[in-house]
């Protein structure tokens, strides 16, 4: 990065943060701080909902996911349109009618205080962990850009996000998200165009896609019925629908975005905007990753994309072994490149037999390259046991820093950080609001005024920011970020959704039955997660199904008991 990049980076970030703080400088009541002004139009709501979900991880980690595993991850989102339609029909009108601050307030109105607290605790634990994971994304960008240690960049990013969020609350997030999304989409679109331009001139778009397809990067849909396969059409439709239903319907960070609409119509259209564009947006970002894979068949990639960690280890006790592997990897890449050139020439003269032989050679040499990478990762792990050897999250930022022109690098880095700022702010605001509304105000300070509770929300928001930062500092992940966030969500979301579904549809079920059903279901999911090896998406279905069925069963047992205690809660 040079001076122009830093000028663009700081200009964009300070502009966004300053605009958000200025627009929200007079907010003093809890409702506005938590829910905003209630005047948002559908496009603002739609972009706000999209931006809350599409964190920096989406723009940083998803291309890496496309690079390593192809388009298959898009199936994760197949259930989202159906979930959003259901939320639009059932959840949204109810939330707006009740005028609640948090989803868990609704559970308290429908059931009782302990069920409200259970829902809030589930949200706080999973979102607190999720916030810890998502703080990694901007830290990765900065540590790669600046060459700083990851831990220092985690502290810097967390501090920036906490200051921004605490100063403006939910509305600061909403008023700046439209601008932030515009910057992000502009940056991503320009990166896409430049990537295509950087490919060899002899390679047509059809050749590019054929090459990606030959390395299994375009396998977007898997119709097989296999519980162990992480992403299939069926796990995406059913598990993905439950995941989306829980995330959009029972997660405070999303609910507070769309209940702030000027009317039910605006909120609904905002949700439908996401129902239409979520799949193509994710598919487009994954395709960018698949095309990055093609690009790195012509341009030698680093053996390990986390170049800061590599350089640290390459000057340590394992230097000789790592340098040997690096040289072997470069040779293997040259062989792959030669085979691909042969494949391209055969394809241009329409010699299908030579084409097939050349692509087999390319696949074989690439497999050898992957073995070398595995050996290098094993050595890196010996030198730094806490180092994550999954370098997929570093693929796109490496491309950005080495291939884009100056100025645009600054814009893309600003886009990543803007995405981090907006999604982290939404998460922290939701965590702070839930802690205040469902614990502090509900249990400790019912009589205090709005100004006191806004102050409390700011403190709780800062507290959760510090919790997220601490988790990011001490955790070590084997998954790439985009999957890690979804795995953590899937462990908790099923039960959270189960509580809300029972509240909506099982009118007979009372608080005590649903509370114990929720506790038992969450324990069941923990046990199954620790013992089974099935796609994580299924835990959304299992958690929700167990919670609903157990609630009905427990209520039936309670109803059969004689005496005045038969209607608890």
């Amino acid at each position: 990065m040079n001076g122009a990049d830093y000028a663009v980076l700081f200009g964009v970030l300070l502009g966004i943060a300053g605009y958000g703080m200025w627009r929200t400088r007079h907010r003093r009541d809890l409702s506005t701080y938590v829910k905003g002004h209630g005047t948002s139009r559908w496009l603002v709501i739609g972009l706000s909902v999209m931006a809350t979900q599409a964190s920096a991880i989406t723009f940083l980690s998803t291309p890496g996911q496309g690079y390593t595993d192809g388009l298959g991850f898009v199936q994760n989102y197949f259930g989202a349109p159906f979930a959003l339609i259901l939320i639009s029909i059932v959840f949204l009108p109810m939330y707006r009618r009740l005028g609640i601050h948090t989803v868990y307030e609704f559970l308290g109105q429908r059931f009782d205080s302990k069920t409200r607290l259970l829902g809030a605790v589930i949200f706080l634990v999973q979102r607190g962990l999720g916030a810890g994971i998502t703080i990694y994304a901007p830290a990765i960008v900065l540590s790669t850009v600046l060459g700083w240690p990851l831990s220092l960049t985690i502290v810097c990013c967390s501090t920036l996000v906490i200051l921004y969020t605490v100063s403006g609350g939910s509305e600061a997030v909403s008023v700046t998200q439209t601008w932030q999304m515009a910057i992000i989409f502009t940056g991503m679109a320009l990166a896409f165009v430049i990537l295509l331009r950087e490919l060899p001139p002899a390679l047509t778009m059809s050749d590019t896609l054929a090459l990606a397809g030959a390395f299994r990067k375009l396998r977007a849909i898997d119709f097989s019925v296999n519980l162990h396969e992480r992403y299939t059409f069926w796990s995406g439709m059913l598990g993905g629908m439950f995941l989306a239903l829980s995330y959009f319907g029972a997660d405070q960070s999303q609910v507070q975005r769309y209940v702030s609409g000027a009317s039910l119509r605006e909120s609904r259209l905002g949700l439908m905007f996401n129902a239409v564009w979520k799949i193509p947006m994710q598919a487009g970002i994954l395709l960018l990753g698949a095309l990055l894979f093609v690009f790195y068949q012509f341009q030698a990639p680093p053996i390990f994309f986390n170049t800061v960690a590599w350089q640290q280890q390459a000057s340590g006790p394992h230097a000789a072994a790592l340098q040997t592997l690096e040289a072997d990897y470069a040779r293997t890449h040259a062989e792959t490149r030669a085979s691909i050139d042969t494949w391209l020439a055969a394809r241009q003269r329409q010699d299908t037999a030579a084409e097939a032989a050349a692509i087999q050679d390319a696949q074989a040499s690439r497999a050898r390259g992957e073995q070398l990478r595995d050996q290098a990762k094993a050595i890196l792990k010996q030198g730094a046991p806490r180092l994550s050897t999954n370098d997929a999250d570093y693929v796109f930022i490496t491309f950005v820093l080495h291939q884009l022109p100056h100025g645009l690098i600054g814009l893309l880095v600003a886009a990543f950080l803007a995405a981090a700022l907006q999604s982290k702010s939404a998460e922290l605001t939701a965590l702070g609001a839930t802690t205040t509304v469902d614990f502090y105000r509900h249990i400790l300070r019912r009589e205090a005024g709005d100004e006191h509770h806004v102050r409390a929300t700011r403190w709780f928001t800062a507290f959760w920011g510090i919790v997220a930062m601490s988790f990011a500092l001490f955790a070590s992940m084997s998954e790439n970020l985009i999957q890690a966030v979804n795995i953590v969500g899937s462990i908790f979301y099923g039960v959270a959704l189960g509580l809300v579904l029972v509240a909506f549809f099982a009118k007979r079920v009372q608080g005590t039955a649903v509370f114990w059903a929720g506790v038992a279901s969450q324990l069941l999911v923990f046990v199954l997660f620790a013992t089974l090896e099935i796609s994580y998406l299924w835990y959304n279905v299992i958690g929700c199904g167990a919670c609903v069925l157990l609630s009905l069963a427990l209520q039936a047992i309670v109803d059969r008991r004689p005496g005045p205690s038969s209607l608890p809660g």
């Binding site: 896609l209 397809g213 009317s263 119509r265 609904r268 239409v276 193509p280």
Partner: protein, 49 residues
Amino acid sequence: MTTPSDGRPRPDDDTGVPGVRTWTRVYVVVIGSFVLWIALLSTLMLVYS
């Protein structure tokens, strides 16, 4: 999607989307777009894999 007793639609019942005046039609359009995306991804996969 319900109407009050005087027969006039509630403000929220009108979607405000030209050509798609009821919410049921909005949802049909959303599901139609889902089918379209699946078809496009399947085609991309079949042609180039």
